[in-house]
C-alpha cells in the first residue's frame, strides 16, 4: 500500500467519524432518541429533555464531551461498579503504554527507519512512497542502527511490565476496597452445591440434613433448583399476551380492538380482541398454576445453600464436602440476578456433549473464517485480484477506486464478518454449562479475543493455505523467521484496520448506535409492535474488550516494525476514552458485577503480545543479519514469562477468592449492623428461580386483575 492509499482511508474514516459525531451531538439532545442515547437516564427517570425545536438544539456541540470527561473514578465506581472502572482502566492503560511507545517510535525509530536504504526508494515523491519506507524493512541489513531497535525492545518491555504490575496492584487493591465497602450481598453468603447424591429422599431433605449435621451453627437456608424450562415457556407466553392486552386497552382507536377470529386475523367473525386476550390469559394462568404445583417433583440435584457468614460460605466452597469427590461439589454462587437458569436443567452427560460440540464448533468457525480472510488478502494485493478477475482491470486502473479498495474495503469486510462471529461466540459460551451470565460473558470475551488474534492477526499475516499455517506450529524453530518475514509486510493493512475498525466502528456503532438507530427508525416507519418493552442495554464486554486488546496487540507487535501505526492507535484510545465514558454514564446499566475479574484476561493478553513481539524481533534481527541482537533478545521472553509467573502468584489469587482476613473482618463488621437480620430474611428467598415469582409483572405500574400474577409476587 502506498502512502496516498493510506491517506485516502484515513480521510474517509475521519470524514465518517466527524459526520457521526455531529449527528450524535444533535440527536442526543432530542427526547425521541433518548431511548438510544440516554436509556440509562431515562430508566432512572433523570432524562430532562424536551422535544421542542429551538435553535441551540439543532447545532452540534461538544457538551457531551465535557460531561463524559468530568466524573472522577470514584463517581464512576459509585455509578457503574468496579467492572466499569476496570474497563476504563484498560483504555487508560493502553493510553499510557502507547503514549510512551509513540514518543519512542516517532521520535527515535521512525527517523532511523526512514534514513535506511534497504528498499531503494527515492526520496522525492512522498505521496507515492510505499509505507514500507517507514518500517524496519527499510533499515540496511547488518546496520548498527538496528541496535537502537534492540534497545527499544528492551526498554519498551520493561516499561510495559512496570505498568502491568502497577495496574494489577491497583486493581487488586480496588477489588479488596470494593469488597469492604459493599453492602451484604446474597452471593457472598451462598454456595452452589451440585451433584447432590440420590439417597431415596428428596434432594431438599438431603441438603437440609447434610448441612444441619455438618454446619449446625452457621447453616441458614437452601433452595433446591427445579426444572423450570416448561414453566418459563408458559410464563413467557403469558407475558407477551399481557403486554398485548395492556397495549390493546390503552389504544384509543376502537377499530383496532376488534379483529377476525380466523387465520392471521384475516377472515372469520369479528371478535373483541380484549375479551379474547383476557380469556386466553386466564387459560394460561391455569396452565402456569398446574405446572407450578408439579414443580416439587422436578428437582435438579443442585441447590443454593446460604450460610450466616461469608467466611462459612467460603469454607464450604474451598473444602471438599462429601467423601466421594464427585458428590456434593461446591462452588461460589453467582449473584441472584447473574444466575443463568437454563443451564441447570441439563444433565452432566448433556453438558459434556455440549462442551465437546462447542470445541468442534469453534474449530469449524475458525476454518470457515479463512474464506473472508482470503478475500480480504486478495483486496490488499491488487495484482492478485486482477489475476483472479481480469474483467476488473479497467475499474482497478482508476486511482481512486484502487485506493479505496486497498485502503478501506478490506478492513470493512473483515470488521463485518467479525461482527457476525460475536453473537455466535456468546451462544457457544452459553451452551458450555456456565452457571452465570458473567461467566458466559467472560468466556465469550476470551473466545472472541483468541478468535480475533488468530483470524485477524495470524491468518492475515501468514499468507498461503490453512494447512501451511498448521505446519508452522509443528516447526517451532522456524516460527521467529517466518513471522519476521510476514508480519512487517502487513503493517499498512493493520494501520488501515485501526482507522476503520477502531475509529469509525467505535464512533458509529458504539457512540452513534447505528444499528439500533436504523432498527428503531425502520420500526417507527413500519409501525411495529411498539408496546414491546424498552430495555436498558448493558455493556457488551465480550465485543469491546477483545477489540481494545487486539489493538493493543497490534501496537505492541508493530512498535519496532512500523511505528507509524502508533499515532493512529493513540487516536483510537483517546476517542475510546471519551466515548466509553459517555456510554457508561448515559447508556449502559451494569447487568452483573464481577469485581474486576476481567483484568487477568487483559494482563495475560498483554503478556502474550509482548512475547509475540519478542519472537518477531528475534526473527527480524536474524533476517537483518544482526545475529548477536537476535540471540540477545532470547532472554527477554523468558524474563517476561518469569515476571508473569510472579504476577500470577502475587495477584491472581486475589481475583479468584477473598482471603480469610477480609471475610472475617467483614463478617464481624456485619454483626454490629442492625440491618443484617432483615438481610437474612431476604437471603432465604433470594435464590428462588425467577420463574417461581414472575418479577416482570411487578415492575409494571399498570396492573391487570389477575389473581395469579398477584399471588406470584410474594
Amino acid at each position: 500500500m502506498i502512502l496516498s492509499a493510506l491517506l485516502t482511508s484515513v480521510g474517509i474514516n475521519v470524514a465518517l467519524c466527524l459526520l457521526f459525531l455531529t449527528l450524535f451531538s444533535i440527536l442526543k439532545k432530542r427526547q425521541s432518541y433518548a431511548h438510544l442515547y440516554l436509556p440509562r437516564l431515562v430508566s432512572e427517570g433523570k432524562s430532562q429533555l424536551g422535544d421542542g425545536y429551538n435553535f441551540e438544539r439543532i447545532l452540534p456541540s461538544v457538551n457531551w464531551v465535557k460531561r463524559a470527561w468530568q466524573p472522577s473514578e470514584e463517581e464512576l465506581l459509585a455509578n457503574s461498579g468496579l467492572d466499569a472502572v476496570v474497563f476504563m482502566r484498560i483504555i487508560t492503560f493502553g493510553l499510557k503504554v502507547f503514549r510512551f511507545a509513540a514518543i519512542i517510535g516517532i521520535c527515535v525509530l521512525l527517523p532511523f527507519n526512514y534514513m535506511g536504504n534497504q528498499l531503494n526508494i527515492d526520496f522525492t515523491d512522498l505521496p507515492n512512497k510505499s509505507l514500507e519506507s517507514f518500517s524496519i524493512s527499510n533499515v540496511d541489513d547488518g546496520s548498527n542502527r538496528l541496535w537502537v531497535h534492540f534497545c527499544a525492545v528492551y526498554v519498551f518491555t520493561a516499561v510495559v511490565c512496570y505498568l502491568l504490575y502497577i495496574e494489577y496492584d491497583y486493581i487488586s487493591s480496588k477489588r479488596i476496597a470494593y469488597f469492604y465497602s459493599s453492602k451484604p450481598q446474597p452471593h457472598q453468603f451462598t454456595v452452589l452445591v451440585r451433584s447432590i447424591p440420590n439417597s431415596g429422599r428428596s434432594f431438599s431433605e438431603s441438603v437440609e440434613s447434610f448441612f444441619t449435621e455438618y454446619y449446625p451453627s452457621t447453616y441458614l437456608s437452601h433452595s433446591v433448583v427445579r426444572r423450570t424450562s416448561k414453566l418459563k415457556g408458559l410464563i413467557n407466553n403469558a407475558d407477551k399476551l399481557y403486554s398485548r392486552l395492556v397495549h390493546l386497552k390503552s389504544e384509543n382507536d376502537t377499530q383496532q380492538r376488534f379483529g377476525r377470529a380466523g387465520f392471521m386475523g384475516l377472515y372469520g367473525k369479528r371478535v373483541d380482541l380484549v375479551d379474547r386476550c383476557e380469556k386466553k390469559l386466564e387459560e394460561m394462568e391455569d396452565n402456569v398454576r398446574t405446572e407450578r404445583s408439579t414443580l416439587a417433583g422436578k428437582e435438579v440435584p443442585a441447590a443454593f445453600v446460604s450460610f450466616k457468614t461469608r467466611f462459612n460460605a467460603a469454607i464450604a466452597t474451598h473444602i471438599r464436602q462429601g467423601v466421594k469427590p464427585t458428590e456434593w461439589t461446591t462452588e461460589p454462587a453467582p449473584d441472584p440476578q447473574d444466575v443463568y437458569w437454563p443451564f441447570f436443567s441439563a444433565s452432566f452427560l448433556k453438558r459434556w456433549m455440549c462442551n465437546l460440540a462447542v470445541i468442534v464448533a469453534c474449530v469449524f468457525i475458525t476454518i470457515l473464517f479463512l474464506i473472508p480472510v482470503l478475500v480480504v488478502q486478495g483486496l490488499t494485493n491488487l495484482e492478485q485480484l486482477e489475476s483472479w478477475f481480469p474483467f476488473l482491470k479497467g475499474i482497478l486502473s482508476l486511482k481512486i477506486v484502487s485506493q479505496v479498495i486497498t485502503g478501506y474495503l478490506p478492513s470493512l469486510i473483515l470488521e463485518m464478518f467479525i461482527s457476525l462471529v460475536l453473537p455466535v461466540m456468546v451462544v457457544l459460551s452459553s451452551i458450555q454449562g456456565y452457571i452465570s451470565l458473567s461467566q458466559i460473558e467472560k468466556s465469550a470475551c476470551i473466545k472472541v479475543l483468541w478468535f480475533t488474534v488468530w483470524n485477524v492477526f495470524f491468518a492475515n499475516v501468514l499468507s498461503g493455505s490453512a494447512l501451511y499455517r498448521v505446519n508452522i506450529i509443528l516447526e517451532p524453530k522456524r516460527i521467529p523467521e517466518i513471522l519476521g518475514v510476514a508480519v512487517p509486510g502487513q503493517a499498512s493493512f493493520f494501520i488501515a484496520y485501526v482507522v476503520t475498525s477502531g475509529w469509525t466502528k467505535t464512533v458509529s456503532s458504539e457512540l452513534f448506535q447505528l444499528k439500533p438507530l436504523i432498527w428503531s427508525s425502520l420500526k417507527r416507519t413500519l409501525g411495529g409492535k411498539s408496546y414491546e418493552e424498552f430495555e436498558v442495554p448493558s455493556i457488551p464486554y465480550h465485543s469491546e474488550i477483545p477489540r481494545i486488546l487486539f489493538f493493543s496487540l497490534l501496537g505492541v507487535t508493530y512498535f519496532i516494525l512500523s511505528p507509524l501505526i502508533l499515532p493512529f492507535l493513540l487516536g483510537y484510545y483517546c476517542l475510546g476514552y471519551i466515548i466509553y465514558r459517555n456510554q457508561l454514564l448515559d447508556v449502559y446499566v451494569p447487568k452483573f458485577e464481577t469485581g474486576g475479574k476481567f483484568w487477568p484476561v487483559v494482563h495475560d493478553s498483554t503478556i502474550f503480545s509482548l512475547i509475540l513481539m519478542h519472537i518477531i524481533a528475534i526473527g527480524i534481527f536474524g533476517l537483518k543479519k544482526v545475529p548477536l541482537a537476535s540471540s540477545l533478545t532470547i532472554p527477554l521472553p523468558i524474563l517476561t514469562l518469569v515476571f508473569n509467573s510472579y504476577c500470577r502468584r502475587r495477584f491472581l489469587p486475589m481475583f479468584k477468592s477473598y482471603p480469610a482476613e477480609c471475610l472475617i473482618k467483614k463478617d464481624r463488621y456485619d454483626q454490629s449492623d442492625p440491618t443484617i437480620t432483615s438481610f437474612y430474611d431476604k437471603l432465604v428467598t433470594a435464590y428462588q428461580d425467577p420463574a417461581m415469582n414472575s418479577v416482570r409483572y411487578s415492575e409494571n405500574s399498570e396492573r391487570i386483575n389477575s389473581p395469579l400474577l398477584h399471588s406470584a409476587e410474594i
Copy 2:
C-alpha cells in the same frame, strides 16, 4: 539375539537366584546376621535366634516363604502402615494384569506370531532361532491374523482400565478407613505457615496475634521455625563423641583406653582417652548451650500452627489467609518425624535457584547417561562391537562368550549405572525445597521413574544419536511409525533385562542385602568403628516403585509385540510378592506414612504405558499394511485419556486432602475421647526442631552424666 543366548542369560540368572536364596535361608537363621535380615525384629526386641550350630540351622529351608505368605492385608496394615499395603497392591496389581496378559499372549498371540512367515526362518533349528520368530514381526504383512492382535489391544486395555478403577476405588476407601481408624496425630491438627510478613515484631508474636485474632476459638499453639543448621552441626559432633565415649567406657581392654595426644594418636604423651573425651564433650555442651540461647534471634518466617480440630486446620490450609497472596501462605504440615528441617533455612531466592539447578542437573544426567546406554547397545549388537574393537574378534567367536556378552552383560551394566543414579535423584529432590521426607521420596520416585523410562526404554529403543531422539519430538506424526519399527527389535534385550534386573537384582540386593552384607563383612574383618549405631532401614520407595512400574511398562508395551516376555514378568511379580512381604515384615520400619499417596503415581504411569502401547500398535499396524486396524486403534488412546480424566476427578482429590464430612466426624469422635487433652499437651511441643531437644541420646539406655543432655530431653 537368538534363543540360546536368552536361555544362557536365564540360566545364569536362575542359578544366581537359587544361590542367593539358599544362602539367605541359611544366614537368616543366624544371630550374627540378624541386623541384616531381621533388623526390624531386633529393634522391636522380637528376634529369638541363638547363634549355636545345630544341624537344622545350616540347611536351607523355605520357612521364611511361609512366614512371609501368611499375614493378611489387615495384619500388614497394622504392622507396616497403609503405604506398605499400597506397595504390595502395586505388585498384586501387576500380578493380576500380567496373569491375564500371559494367558492371552501365550495361548493366543504367540502361536499366531510363530505361524507367520514374514521373517523366513526355517522351523527346524529351534535353539538357533532368533527370538523375533515369536514376535509380531513374524506375522505376514497385511495378514488377517493381525486382527487378533487388534482385538487383544482393545480387550487388554479394557481389562487394565477396569483393574485400575477397582484398585483406585479400593485404595481410596482404604485411605478413608485408615483416617477414621487412626489415633489423633499432630500433623492432622497443624498447618505450616510460610512467608510470615515482617511487621517489626518477632515472627512468633506476629503469628500469635494473627491467629488469635482470626481463629480465637480454635487456635491452639504455634512453634516458629528457627535457623538451626549450626546447632545441628554442633549436636552431631557431640553425638559422635558421646558414642565414642560410651564405646571406650564399655571396652574391657584398658590398653585401648589410652592413646597418644599427637597427630592421629601416633605420637605425643599417653593420655586417658576417656578423660579427654569427657572434657571435649563438656566444651561442646557449652557451645551447644550458647548456640541455643542465641536461637531466639534466628527465626525463619515460617511456623507450625496447631488448631484444636482437624477441620479448622483444613480450613486454614484451604483458604488463603492474608490479603497479599504471597504472605501467610499455608499448607498441610507433615508429621513431626517426617519434617525435613534443613530446608527451612534456605531463602526463597536460594530455593528458586536450587530448583533451576535441579532441572539443569536432571538434563545433564540424562545426557550423560547416554554413554552407558550406547555401550550397552554395542554389546547387544555384536557386529558393531567387532567393528569398534577388531582385536576382540577372536574371543567373540567363542559361542559361550558371545552369548554371555549379548545376553547377560548389557542388562547388568545398565542396572549398575541406574543404581548410581538413584542416590543422585534423592539428593536432587532434597535440595528442591520439599518440607518433608515423604515428599522428597515421592519426588525422587517420580524422577527415577521418568529417568528409567526415558533412558532405559526410549534410549535403548531409539538407536542413533541423541539429537535424532530430540527431533522425533518435533515430528509428532512420525512417532508411531518410528516406535513401530524400533520397539519390537529390542524385545530380546528387555526379556534379558527382566531376568537380570528383575529376578537377580531383586533377590540379591533386596532379599540377600548383598551390598550391606559385603560392607558389614568388610567392617568386621577390618575392625571398624563398631560402636556406630545400628539403624533400622526404611523401604526405599524411590528405587523399588519405579522398578516395578518400569517392568509393568515393559509388559504392557510388549504384550502384543513379543508375548514371550510375559512369563518372565509373571515370574518377577511372584518373586517380588514373596520377597517384599518378607522385607516389610522383617526388615523395613516405616519412616513416614503418606496414607497411600504413591498410588496416583502408579495409576498415571500405567495410563502412560497403555497409551504408549496404543501408539506403538498404531505404528505397527500401519507398517504391517493393515491401515484399517491402525485407524481403528486411534480412538483407544483418546478413550483411555477420557477414562483417566474421569479417574482424576473421581479419586485424585481423595489423595490430596480429606473432605469436611470425614474431618468433622472424626473431630466429634475425638471430643468424647478422654485422652484428647493429653494429646493437646503433646501437640504444643510436637513441632519443636529436634535440634532443640536432642532425641538421640534419650533413646540410648546407657546415660552419661551430662546436665545438657538431660535438660534437652524435656
